[in-house]
């Protein structure tokens, strides 16, 4: 994997890497991706699911309640006058 690809993937993942990290990850990922090529030989097709055991939708009734109050939730966030503060969107 070349450095430009590592940098592009990191940008998508919201990571800024040092040049040492870029080089190390390029080398590591190249090796891991080469190893994954064994999957090219694996039989394809057949049925598959996204979970290892069958999972179906299990719905429950809506029940009014409050497990955690808003104040407790705000404890772990940056707030201003009962509002959550975040960075600029544009």
């Amino acid at each position: 994997m070349d450095i430009a690809t590592v940098r592009n993937v990191a940008r998508v993942a919201r990571l800024k890497l040092t040049s040492e990290e870029e080089q190390a990850f390029a080398r590591d990922l190249e090796e891991v991706l080469a190893y994954m090529e064994v999957l090219d030989e694996a039989p394809s097709g057949g049925e598959h699911d996204f979970n290892p055991v069958p999972v179906r939708d299990v719905l429950r009734d809506d029940e009014e309640g409050r497990d955690v109050d808003a104040e407790t939730l705000r404890d772990s966030m940056d707030t201003y006058q009962d509002m959550v503060r975040g960075p600029k969107l544009s």
């Binding site: 994997m1 993937v9 993942a13 994954m36 999957l39 394809s44 299990v58 600029k88």
Partner: protein, 445 residues
Amino acid sequence: MSCFPTVEKLRKLNARYHAFNEIAQSFPDLNEYPPRFHFSAKENLCAKGFQATAGSRILEGYRPPFDATSVSRMRAAGGVLLGKTNMDEFGFGTFSTNSGFETPRNPFDERRACGGSSGGAAAATSLLDKHIALGVSTGGSISCPASFCGVLGLTPTYGRVSRYGLIDYGNSLDKIGLLARSAADLKQYLPIISGADPKDPTSCVQPPLRIEGAKVSRIAIPEEALQNLSPVVKEGFEGALDSLRSKLDIEVIDTHMPSLKYALSAYYVLATSEASTNLARYCGMRFGAKGGSISQHFNDFFTEVRSAKFGREAKRRILLGTYARMVGFRDRYYMKALSVRQLVISEYQKAFAEADLVLTPTMPFIAPTFEEIGRMRPLEAYQADFLTIPPNLAGMPHLSLPCSYSDGMPIGMQAVAPHWEEGRLIELAEKWTGVFHLRFPEGCA
């Protein structure tokens, strides 16, 4: 009555082994009635009153205001939560050397690793008499440390234990289980944490847990799993097979599972894809570490805190997972990995038509020293999981139990049962611990 360590004794022990990231301020009166027991929870399980960092600096300071279902069920059964156990950051590791905090040390030899990612849980169980630890496995994170620290590690079927309150690594792979010193403890505590929970729909499709009446009379050994083992593990495992035959009258047969060679790659495609999406939520706003100036553009704000707080292995797996989901790679490998998972399940099912359990060593070597780990390339570390990944990929219940010792270090073997048949594993554990003497480190609490 459980024997409780004192807070002071536990803190002293922890200063040496770093099994816990946080220890409770106080423990209850030993004479309290009804009798109570002590347990620990891995750092990626939420528990009221404790931090839940999942071993990551990006979650440092996050104190969830609720209990994970597994934790609340243990507390309701009389369990006292001693503390939160150390782990590889978000479960990313084979040796627990990727924790954002201290590195847990093996109670049998402090120069060696505990295994990962539930390394703190295994160390705590090995160190503390009558302790039961809640661990979490995605690709072998209960079996591996159980093997390295000489304890029993039970990973139930995917969906058997509610994942509500678990900080996810890979949603289709994560399973909460137990690390214990005895088969009796597994038998006692598995029913407590199992069962449907409306807060996790994947737990609501399970059949009832059936422990009594399970039989183990024939065990299959896949030939493909016996390659690339260190001589001491090979020798220890073969000795255990002899004991199974001669002391327990269990028939041992050979089998073939050619798909095992694809399992490791399929696992890393699926696990990192799921992890990279799960970790997108950690951006310096809601949990733990806070971002910089809110006058920054959100992209810069998120990027800055994530780059500063995620550790090296977390970054590596985020990059791998992000790449795996990109156009081209997704079509080539992601869908293929899902097919491989089904293939592995089919091969296990074929083996279970002839045998009650599939058995392999747990890890290809004994707990390595920190120096040896430092010399490993990332791929070499990933490859060390080749025996623990198949049952995890397939969502099959499995159990690691000590089967031998080499130079004082434990060696583990791993039994795999069909979906929902945890009873067979406990039956094997009861039989095996009846004829095999487990050792624990001396001089501990």
